[in-house]
């Protein structure tokens, strides 16, 4: 076994040696799937970058070399910590942050709730309380009277040096922010929030975050219109492409409404859908057209990309992106915004951003809703001619944490599946608000720099692979097509990689796709099946 006892003072241990090694024998078994062992980092990376937490990283930043550079880094971190604890600079979460720092009883009731901790073979550094405790001990040492006076007696025993601060940064990105740990805490402590607060400190004070989230994420989103780089002109071309897909699939032309003033609904998809899974926004257009829903897409800057990466790491960026979404809706004169199949966009726009926008942008002034109740109402209304026999294959449902646990939208997607599928839904264990994350939550699905995707697939996504195999355990014959429904783009991204990595499609015939795709596949008006099993799923 590669597990070593890690103590908190080890976090501050200088040097390049990782605190732990992730090795195959420790990891959660996923038999009968093939589970290739974790790949070692390239030698060049070990020399150039800091992989001293666990041998993995997404941060392709050259390691500060001189003691002065490292000292400046630590000083900036401490300035950030001060601001994190300041009620004006961190009003969005100061109360929850302080409560979680001051009142954790260290009972470890949350440990077994964490899929990362379990899938890793219970590596100590991935326990939900570990990173929280590192932050807490630094906070006690730097910001509390008890910590300054009593030091180690109250736990203020971590030396605040470059090694500790860097490892803390890395630790913040070993959490999917699924908040399963908060769900079971007897005191209501939120370790996932603490992970997000650490991320926020580094982003808002040092401008330091994985490039996919900040530089190529919110920055690109706000400046170019989409984190995919899609411009308004590119979006209009994409809509034409979507209309072509619809024509091919339905045999009749359907116009996708764009920038329609006064429409009832502004529908915003995750722009990643247009590039990776265009059949999903096409499916929305087919069924909304058939149901006679008055909706529009937007070609305005940001109006065609629902993502809001700020919800994972930066309050300022969260608010900026959300404000643009609402502004566009108001300028179009729509009655409400409906968010497509994207979990984190659901939570950001429909829940979290509500109180950080000016009053005339609040939820009451411009309602924002999930697409799932709308889809449920459409399939139950009788507006579509549906034949569940067209979906006569085993289906399981992956619940997006943002949609179920963090918004309480649990039944609509199940009611849709019950109406459009021939076979009973195969629920994962556990499911609904108690589900496990896909492994891509909290931004991890899109982090692919250096060897981070290896960590995500080996550790974070492992529990979901186990759950999928368990859901289909009596029908693993690869000749039988099986469908993992996931109403979330980032979940689909994580599933796509995990399915490929563990050979689930070739070995067991397991594919994945969205919910709207399933609905359209059941529409009797379509001359051919909508879901193509042979294409990359």
């Amino acid at each position: 076994m590669s597990q070593r006892t890690v103590r908190f003072r080890d976090v501050a241990r200088p040097g390049r040696d990782p605190l732990v090694a992730i090795e195959a024998p420790d990891l959660l078994p996923v038999a009968p799937a093939a589970a290739p062992p974790p790949a070692a980092p390239r030698a060049r990376w070990l020399e150039t970058y800091d992989l001293s937490l666990d041998g993995f990283s997404d941060l392709d930043l050259p390691r500060p070399q001189t003691p002065e550079e490292q000292e400046r880094f630590v000083e900036a971190f401490l300035r950030g910590l001060e601001k994190l604890l300041d009620p004006q600079n961190n009003w969005p979460f100061i109360k929850t942050l302080k409560l979680s720092l001051d009142y954790c009883l260290r009972c470890q009731t949350c440990s077994e709730a964490c899929h990362v901790y379990l899938a890793s073979g219970r590596q100590e550094i991935y326990r939900p309380t570990f990173r929280s405790e590192v932050l807490r001990r630094i906070y006690q040492r730097q910001a509390t009277v008890a910590g300054r006076v009593l030091g180690p007696l109250v736990g203020a025993d971590i030396e605040v040096n470059f090694a500790a601060v860097w490892r803390l940064l890395e630790l913040a990105y070993r959490c999917n922010l699924c908040r399963r740990c908060a769900q079971v805490c007897p005191v209501g402590i939120d370790n996932a929030l603490l992970a997000r607060e650490i991320r926020k400190l580094f982003s808002q004070e040092l401008g330091l975050a994985p490039a996919e989230l900040l530089k190529k994420g919110t920055r690109k989103h706000l400046e170019a219109g989409s984190s995919t780089g899609m411009t308004p002109a590119g979006f209009r071309d994409t809509v034409e492409f979507i209309e072509e897909i619809i024509g091919e699939k339905t045999g009749r032309p359907i116009r996708v409404p764009v920038d329609k003033k006064g429409a009832d609904i502004l529908l915003i998809h995750n722009a990643g859908e247009f590039l990776s899974w265009p059949e999903n926004p096409a499916a929305f257009s087919i069924l909304l057209d058939a149901a006679g829903v008055d909706y529009t897409l937007s070609s305005d800057l940001l109006g065609y990309d629902a993502v809001n990466y700020g919800v994972w790491f930066d309050d300022v960026e969260l608010a900026r992106v959300a404000l643009q979404h609402v502004r566009i809706a108001k300028s179009l004169g729509v009655r409400k915004i409906v968010v497509g199949e994207c979990g984190h966009a659901h939570k950001a726009l429909c829940v979290t951003a509500d109180r950080v926008l000016p009053g005339d942008y609040s939820l009451a002034e411009m309602p924002r809703e999930s697409c799932l109740p709308l889809l449920r109402d459409i399939v139950q209304s009788g507006a579509l001619r549906l034949d569940p026999a067209r979906n006569d294959f085993p289906v399981t449902l992956h619940d997006s944490c943002n949609v179920v646990r963090l918004m309480g939208i649990v039944r609509p997607q199940r009611e849709v599946i019950a109406r459009v599928c021939a076979q009973p839904l195969r629920e994962m264990t556990p499911h609904g608000v108690w589900n496990y994350c896909c492994g891509g939550g909290g931004g991890l699905a899109i982090m692919d720099t250096l060897n981070f995707s290896e960590w995500r697939n080996q550790v974070a996504a492992r529990m979901k692979v186990r759950q999928i195999l368990d859901a289909f355990q009596d029908t693993l014959d690869p000749a039988i097509h099986k469908y993992v429904a996931a109403a979330c783009s980032n979940c689909k991204g994580a599933l796509r990689e995990a399915i490929a990595r563990y050979g689930l499609q070739e070995q067991f015939g397991i594919g994945y796709g969205g919910l709207a795709d399933l609905i359209v596949n059941a529409m009797v008006d379509l001359p051919q099946p909508y879901i193509e099993w042979d294409s990359e799923m």
Partner: protein, 299 residues
């Protein structure tokens, strides 16, 4: 006599200090800024069967247009009761065997408070003497067993010992000492008549001679009351903020509501974060309208 007056004065000082210090803590948290919505489901005040499976009002379309819903307080009360009385989350999810020990300690504390109330009442209603003895005995046995057991469990399980700090052991040892002294004093005073006499002297401001062991137990208990607001042992009060004001706060912002007023005020706060994508010194409201530092602000 002077010492007896001191024991009365210290007792009242402990009560007053506990109330004042705990109130100060509550005030500090109650006056912190309104946080963003950050709920986790199940939210127990949801109505009907939604509460059972963790559903929310957002499962319907057009929920923002509906009038404010009365909160289902019954669900919250049931959830709180199962946590307070059974420590339900620890029972279901703690893998380190803390539940029976923690439950014993918590029931020891509940029964200790009940015992003190019964002792006072029994001064005027002698029929309550035996119930008081039963409650006191149970409280002291459960308390010393729970606190002592937790110390041993925390020290002997690596996953707990790694995280448990000296002050955590001190807190448990403090509680174990109170209950332990109570047990020893019970041995010399089987009907708790000395304990009762002290409590009555405290309430009536009439000094009465009390056995040193009994006084020692009450002194520790009073010192603990003064200490508690400085420690995480005040978590039972703070759970109002973690649960009701965070994990169960699912209210969206309505025009003119308290949340609306607070959010508007907080948007005027200054941002001094130094990240390159942030314009330091602006208000949150101005910051939010920036698409990118240096670019034209959004409308």
């Amino acid at each position: 006599m002077a010492f007896q007056w001191f024991t009365i004065a210290f007792g009242w000082a402990a009560v007053i200090l506990f109330v004042a210090l705990a109130a100060r803590k509550v005030y500090l948290y109650a006056t912190m800024p309104l946080n963003l919505r950050w709920e986790v489901y199940p939210v127990p005040h949801e109505r009907g069967d939604r509460r059972g499976y963790g559903g929310s009002y957002m499962e319907q379309v057009d929920w923002a247009g509906e009038p404010p819903r009365p909160a289902g307080r019954g669900g919250e009360l049931r959830e709180m009761a199962s946590e307070i009385l059974l420590l339900q989350r620890v029972r279901e999810h703690n893998p380190y065997g803390l539940w029976p020990l923690s439950l014993a300690l918590h029931w020891g504390i509940y029964l200790l408070l009940f015992w003190l109330a019964l002792l006072v009442a029994a001064n005027w209603l002698p029929a309550l003497t035996w119930p008081a003895v039963a409650a006191g005995g149970a409280a002291l046995v459960l308390g010393v067993g729970g606190a002592g057991g937790l110390i041993v469990r925390r020290a002997s399980r690596h996953a707990l010992a790694l995280y448990t700090t000296p002050v955590d052991y001190f807190n448990l040892a403090f509680l174990a000492a109170i209950f332990g002294l109570g047990l020893v004093s019970w041995a010399i005073d089987p009907l708790f008549s000395q304990h009762q006499a002290y409590l009555v002297s405290l309430l009536t401001f009439r000094p009465a001679p009390t056995a040193p062991l009994v006084l020692a137990m009450f002194f520790l208990l009073q010192a603990f009351a003064i200490y508690m607001p400085f420690s995480k042992l005040l978590h039972y009060i703070m759970k109002h903020f973690t649960f009701h004001e965070t994990l169960w706060d699912d209210a969206f912002r309505r025009k003119g509501s308290r949340a609306d007023r607070l959010a508007a005020r907080q948007l005027s706060y200054r941002v001094t974060w130094a990240g390159p994508h942030i314009v330091t010194g602006q208000s949150w409201q101005e910051e939010v309208r920036e698409r990118s530092p240096g670019s034209e602000a959004a409308p």
